[in-house]
């Protein structure tokens, strides 16, 4: 039970990061029906910029509390990622808005490769150890002293995500910009006739998505203690799966999908080894029994398959409910 609780906590942490990244995908998709393939790279750039700032601050011996140092890193990363998001839209997507669907997808992939390798040139080919400025403190969730724990970093990540989600929801549903965004998403031409500057609204959507992505990048870096120029790829793919799970184009869906995917992944990685342990079938085969008797665990799929779960979720959702949990129907050519 404690292991279960622990996995749920880990899953929630991971899931709130996925949710923030998924929001970036879903906002862009909601407004121009385009998968921003390069969004994972924006997250990576966020993590890298924050890394540099944090390392510089720590190196300079700045007399700041640890949390403030990480916040400084995030604050430096946000404008950079916003600028990257803006540039992506301006350079690669706006000229192709009326082109066939294939075209912006291909440019997005190209940009993603370019961003990755530029990051590699600027930072490093090797994984960068994220400075652990925040002393990790574990709190027991239950009374059991050996039971599930939650660290202060995990609490910070979850709280930060909730704040961001609440902020974004307010922005989209309570402000004028939000109304403009929703109008543009429904019908660009009519929105334009109503006096909305569509280009500005779409650019702002990319900027907001970039900002969210940068914060997610800082979270991932701090949580895993590592940053790598290729980290955005898998993260982006998982976050996209989360967005599809929740129903792409739907803000609440992205949040729900992110959290669910995080939990599925954590539980999957935690239990797949036990579930596929062949030793319970040891009576079926002598060779198997011999291997198990020597204390070896004959595991069919271990936790090294953790990354597969997101794709299985993605494929299962696409087969059985392509609209996702909360989304509208996605048909072939809507």
């Amino acid at each position: 039970m404690d292991i279960f609780l622990q996995q749920i906590i880990n899953g929630l942490t991971l899931g709130s990061v996925y949710a923030i990244v998924a929001l970036g995908y879903t906002m862009v998709y909601g407004i121009i029906q385009l998968i921003n393939f390069a969004h994972g790279e924006v997250v990576m750039i966020g993590a890298m910029v924050a890394y540099s700032v944090i390392v510089a601050l720590v190196g300079a011996g700045a007399p700041l509390p640890p949390l403030a140092i990480v916040l400084c890193g995030a604050l430096a990363a946000i404008p950079v990622c916003m600028a990257v998001g803006f540039t992506l839209e301006r350079v690669a997507y706006r000229p192709l808005r009326r082109a066939p669907r294939l075209a912006p997808l291909i440019t997005a992939i190209g940009l993603s490769i370019i961003l990755q390798h530029l990051a590699m040139i600027v930072w490093s080919r090797n994984p960068l150890p994220y400075p652990q400025v925040i002393q990790s403190v574990s709190y027991h969730v239950t009374g059991n002293p050996n039971g599930a724990t939650i660290t202060n970093v995990q609490i910070a990540i979850i709280c930060m995500s909730v704040l961001l989600m609440a902020g974004l929801t307010t922005l989209v549903y309570r402000t004028k910009l939000g109304i403009a965004m929703r109008a543009t998403a429904q019908n660009q031409q009519v929105a334009g006739l109503m006096g909305i500057d569509i280009n500005k609204v779409i650019a702002l959507t990319f900027v907001i998505a970039g900002g969210l992505g940068s914060v997610a990048g800082v979270m991932v870096g701090t949580y895993y203690g590592i940053a790598h120029y290729q980290m955005g790829f898998l993260l982006g793919l998982k976050a996209f799966s989360a967005a599809v799970l929740g129903g792409i184009g739907n803000l609440a869906g992205a949040m729900l999908g992110g959290l669910l995917l995080g939990i599925i992944e954590a539980l999957g990685a935690g239990y797949v080894g036990d579930i596929t342990d062949l030793c319970r079938f040891a009576s079926w085969s002598d060779a198997l029994a011999a291997r198990c008797a020597s204390g070896e665990h004959v595991v069919l799929f271990g936790s090294n398959y953790q990354d597969v779960f997101a794709f299985i979720v993605l494929i299962v959702v696409l087969v059985f409910r392509p609209s996702g949990l909360l989304g509208e129907r996605v048909s072939d050519r809507a």
């Binding site: 385009l34 998968i35 350079v91 690669a92 000229p95 192709l96 009326r98 082109a99 066939p100 669907r101 294939l102 075209a103 912006p104 997808l105 291909i106 440019t107 992939i109 190209g110 940009l111 993603s112 490769i113 370019i114 990755q116 390798h117 530029l118 590699m120 040139i121 790829f233 898998l234 793919l237 996209f240 799966s241 599809v244 062949l278 291997r291 004959v298 595991v299 069919l300 271990g302 090294n304 398959y305 990354d307 597969v308 997101a310 794709f311 993605l314 494929i315 696409l318 087969v319 392509p322 996605v330 048909s331 072939d332 050519r333 809507a334």
Partner: protein
């Protein structure tokens, strides 16, 4: 092709031209071997990439479906060959048995992957194939436990070369005073297969199936209204592309004699896509040019960028490998922005990829 072999106008000239091209292709490996055997190997790999690009062209160019995990089919073919012709399992089947098996398995994977996703919008397919490529790599890396199937990250070694009876493609034979080294023999083999694949592609493009693909690519609703079974046709494109990848993978295994999951990472898929896009989606000759250009680019870069940087800065600032990747990225972006139909555009594709204003 039709234009190339249309001998009505100048029968003699065209045949002379073709004969010259043929002679050049036949003599090429010996000229390259003069520079160094490595260049023959590089050429062989370039031809393999032409296979891959032509296979992906069926999916992306003809049918207009974006497949970002294409290298996974290559991996499936390569591993099928490696496992059925190496001491790893102690199985040594001849290549004409394994290559079709590899193609069939790759085709099966293609259908399995395509069936659930092809009824959805194209961008979902792109993401799912991307994920699929990653899954295949994860499995290849981890299927050494509990039963050793793929030998994990170490890969499979000592893979049999292509062999017909006692004639092995790995050994050097002397024939009429000329030394035929392994790579040279592979070159001729690949050349023959390449010709066959080009002919298949050209015939396919002009066939009923090819026209159906084109119709789907341009307007799916209209195509369906014309009585084309769009789902089956898309599935067929996907399966055919996959089996081409499988065959190329098998030959890669045989040529290299060693494979590991490292050879089948996402970047390779992107590279093949860049070849197709650069050359011109849907145009067989364009795709060949694109594949050759991008295959030789890293070698050219190695011999130009390194000395140039040494001379300018006194040390290596940016490795040629990175420049190559940036080149792929920029090729994708710039081609889509400024010449969306590729270097050698196919006429219909050009018309359709122009931004509608």
């Amino acid at each position: 092709m039709r234009a190339l072999v249309d001998t009505k106008g100048h029968p003699v000239l065209v045949w002379v031209g073709l004969a010259l091209v043929g002679l050049a292709l036949v003599a090429l490996p010996f000229a390259l071997a003069g520079i160094g055997t490595a260049w023959v190997r590089i050429t062989n790999l370039a031809i393999l990439f032409v296979f891959l690009a032509l296979g992906l062209n069926i999916v992306v160019g003809f049918a207009g479906l974006l497949d970002l995990g294409y290298i996974a089919f290559y991996a499936v073919g390569a591993y099928a060959y490696a496992l059925l012709a190496s001491p790893h399992f102690g199985i040594h089947l001849p290549f004409w048995v394994i290559l079709p098996i590899g193609a069939a398995i790759a085709c099966l994977f293609g259908v399995l992957l395509g069936a659930p996703t092809l009824k959805l919008r194209g961008d979902y397919l792109a993401i799912v194939t991307l994920g699929f490529g990653e899954i295949v790599r994860i499995f290849l890396n981890n299927l050494s436990q509990p039963v050793n199937i793929t030998n994990g990250p170490q890969g499979v070694t000592l893979i049999d070369p292509l062999r017909i009876g006692t004639f092995s493609f790995r050994d050097t034979d002397t024939f009429a005073g000329l030394a035929f080294t392994g790579p040279v023999k592979y070159y001729y083999f690949l050349l023959v297969v390449l010709l066959a694949i080009i002919v298949i592609n050209l015939r396919l493009q002009d066939s009923r199936i090819g026209r159906a693909w084109e119709a789907i690519r341009e307007d799916e609703v209209a195509a369906r209204a014309m009585g084309i079974n769009t789902r089956n046709m898309k599935l067929l494109a996907f399966a055919m592309g996959a089996s081409f990848g499988g065959i190329a993978g098998g030959m890669f295994s045989a040529m290299q004699g060693f494979i590991s999951p490292e050879s089948f990472i996402l970047i390779e898929s992107i590279m093949v896509l860049a070849m197709v896009v650069l050359g011109g989606m849907g145009n067989v000759w364009g795709v060949i040019v694109g594949a050759l250009l991008l295959s030789f680019a890293p070698e050219v870069l190695r011999y130009t960028v390194e000395p140039a940087q040494q001379a300018l800065f006194g040390r290596m600032l940016v490795e040629p490998e990175v420049i190559r990747m940036l080149l792929f990225g920029f090729a994708l972006v710039l081609m889509m922005l400024f010449r969306p139909a590729g270097l050698l555009p196919s006429a219909t594709r050009k018309r359709e990829l122009e931004v509608r204003r």
